[in-house]
């Protein structure tokens, strides 16, 4: 039936669908049995039956998997044929200045653990794989959307205040003197002292809305992160 693109019905970047071999009622009872797919992911619609659409994922970490999703309450589809994917996204991170640019926007406040930073160079940023931990629910609806840096390992571009070597986009600047949650943390993992004056804080929702539809064309990546010292 052809290519379709997943919409963003929950406005948080993720939709849970039912993987092949699992009953929809089981996923309803335990969403962890489902398959989480990111907004804009390209799928091949195979058939529509009994109010459900059956498809195969065509890109990203779930490429090749078959799944299904029900039609929405009005009988409409979460899978649309309008292609909103755009060209590869380009982000730039200055480690020393703690600045991040995305597209034509920036600089914004971002950093990487001083003692184990993202290596200097150009790295692919992957299509989001699955919803990540929700440490900052008050800061962004898209905060569970993380983009893996490169194609192996566990470094990500994501929202955060503590870094272990990711490209960490700050929602705000932590103060270990007044905020008990940061007591005992090293300056290195907090990226402190931050350069003055501090860059403005990016809205992570806006970063995601920019980056999630971007495609590099390799079936894996949304674009590239260029890291300079």
């Amino acid at each position: 039936m052809g290519a379709r693109y997943l919409t963003d019905p929950n406005h948080d970047g993720w939709t849970t669908v039912v993987p092949d071999g699992v009953e929809p009622k089981d996923v309803l009872g335990n969403p962890k049995l489902g398959l989480s797919l990111p907004w804009c992911i390209k799928v091949d619609l195979l058939e529509t039956q009994d109010g459900r659409e059956y498809f195969q994922v065509l890109e990203g970490s779930s490429k090749g998997l078959k799944a299904n999703v029900k039609m929405n309450a009005h009988g409409g589809s979460y899978l649309i044929d309008h292609n909103s994917q755009t060209k590869a996204g380009i982000l730039r991170l200055s480690r020393r200045k703690q600045m991040l640019w995305y597209g034509q926007q920036g600089p914004f406040n971002a950093f990487s653990d001083f003692s184990n930073p993202v290596p200097v160079g150009s790295h692919d940023l992957e299509i989001p794989d699955a919803p990540h931990e929700d440490y900052y629910p008050e800061s962004s609806k898209y905060q569970q959307v993380w983009f893996r840096i490169g194609h192996h390992g566990d470094r990500y571009l994501h929202l955060g205040t503590i870094s272990h070597g990711c490209a960490t986009v700050r929602p705000w600047l932590p103060d270990p003197k007044t905020d008990m949650r940061f007591r005992g943390r090293t300056n290195s993992e907090l990226g402190l002292p931050a350069p003055a004056p501090a860059s403005p804080f990016a809205k992570w929702d806006d970063v995601c809305r920019y980056l999630m539809p971007c495609r590099k064309g390799d079936g894996l990546s949304v674009g590239t992160l260029q890291v300079i010292d």
Partner: protein, 163 residues
């Protein structure tokens, strides 16, 4: 049935129902099988993952990402002190062969995950000293289910080896 037995059954049912509703059905099924204790106090895991499978790098395959390498980035993460031996309490239905423990330096998980298997001897684990924050994981296949549970605990560097 006599009074004391009825009371016991009622209490047991109440505990099960409370556990089910407070923790949720899935979490309750996982939470009761393995518990770690140090100095007679339970050690709270930083994460419990419900996995359809486990990769060769010991990552959980699930509808949510396995963030073992990032759990201490949570400002509210509970990072446990290293206080000698750790006692493992597990349900009898979980055989020794179904349960395995592994440790790794948290930092190493970012680029090149290398776990070492930790032997369970007389229901005790011995965490080796380390100058780095350590991740301890327990992995077990749930009896009579196709799912696997992965529990993660975070430990601070050894007191005399902090960097």
């Amino acid at each position: 049935m006599s009074g004391p037995y009825k009371l016991l059954i009622k209490r047991w049912l109440l505990a099960v129902l409370l556990g089910f509703f407070v923790l949720g059905s899935s979490a309750f099924a996982q939470a009761v099988l393995v518990q770690l204790l140090s100095e007679n106090k339970p050690l709270q895991p930083a994460a419990v993952y419900d996995c359809s499978s486990i990769t060769t790098e010991l990552k959980c395959v699930s509808a949510v990402a396995d963030d073992t390498a990032h759990l201490s980035e949570n400002p509210k993460a509970q990072i446990l002190p290293r206080n000698g031996k750790i006692f493992v309490r597990k349900k009898k239905l979980l055989g020794d062969e179904a349960l395995a423990f592994y440790i790794a330096a948290e930092r190493a998980l970012l680029d090149d995950p290398k776990y070492n298997k930790l032997e369970l001897l007389n229901n005790e684990l011995d965490l080796p000293p380390s100058s780095e924050r350590t991740v301890l994981i327990a992995i077990y296949k749930r009896p009579r289910q196709s799912r696997t549970t992965k529990l993660v605990w975070l430990f601070a560097p050894s007191a005399n080896q902090k960097r």
